[in-house]
Symmetry: C2
Subunit: 199 residues, 2 copies
């Protein structure tokens, strides 16, 4: 049996990080994938826990060797998910939670067609605006426009969760993860052999 | 938005009926589909609630007119699910729970490719034997063999639930139903239009 790949995307302000942290904390047999980055570690960040910190030369080598399942440049820094990280976790029957944007989700789906893609929607325009304002986001108009553009890509995803109440969103995401574990392709046929009627 | 079709099959003794009854009782926006049958009503059975009771002539006419989504002969009586019953419920955004055997499930899947098929497994051979024995089943050996044959068809289903604990099985089936409701194809795109940034 193998773990599954759960990709979660959302526009900034939809509450994705809080949701994903709650799932990994509460739930068994699921983990975040640790990314590689060329960004410098921030205060308190731990190598191999928060990120694998590498220099740009090493990162470019990994791109050349096609070691990444997805990668992107964000604010001048490179971020990437190694195929090996994903495969090692899945082989250990651990579901992997991948918190990436729409472009990353598309790269993952191309490489892992069985990945489960979940899009988190903010509950309303007013709520999104307020959340972004509260966290002191700059270029509010630009961010709202970008959120709108990202949300329009929802149909590429398998599931959509409206993050209206955090509790409800957690329970919805858990339902998706549980149902993925119940897929018949994950069922061990040896279970049935033990029913062979030697009566 | 339309309700979904949830087909539940299981070998006799797997605890399917208890499970399905609990789901319909506990859960909102889901109902059993009422079948047509040529069998005579038993004490307390209500027309239109337990079954639509019809004579064989009427049933055969309905077959001729292709009004059934699936039908079967069981112990000399005809049983069938009308397409209209399913469509009416789904149009009202109600999920339909269909408690039918492997052959019926195949007929439904051919007609409704988006139906969600769930197979319920008994927890173990010993437990299945005991459950069948307890309910005074005749031809125990034959029933166990038939259960084995049915279980081998599990891979035709989308999901497999092992009915080890009723509580766990109920929660598993709920997760499947909830995740089906969260599918992006069921998401109303008008939700996004309300985010159009007129800022």
């Amino acid at each position: 049996m193998k773990g599954s790949l759960i990709v979660v995307s959302a526009p900034s302000g939809a509450g994705k990080t809080t949701l994903c942290n709650a799932i990994v904390k509460d739930f068994d047999r699921i983990a975040f994938s640790v990314s590689y980055t060329t960004r410098r570690p921030r205060e308190g960040e731990i190598e191999g826990v928060d990120y694998y910190f590498v220099d740009e030369k090493r990162f470019r080598e990994m791109i050349q060797r096609e070691e990444f399942a997805e990668w992107a440049m964000v604010h001048g820094n490179l971020y990437g998910t190694a195929k090996k990280t994903l495969n090692d976790l899945m082989e250990r029957n651990i579901d992997v939670l991948l918190d990436i944007d729409v472009q990353g989700a598309k790269q993952i789906k191309a490489l892992y067609p069985e990945a489960v893609l979940v899009f988190i929607m903010p509950p309303s325009f007013e709520e999104l605006k307020e959340r972004l304002f509260r966290r002191g986001a700059e270029n509010l108009d630009l961010r709202l426009k970008r959120a709108f553009e990202e949300m329009r890509e929802y149909s590429f995803y398998d599931y959509v969760i409206i993050n209206d109440s955090l509790e409800k969103a957690i329970s919805d995401l858990k339902s998706i993860i549980i149902s993925e574990r119940l897929r018949s392709k994950r069922f061990d046929p040896e279970f049935i052999d033990r029913f062979y009627p030697i009566v």
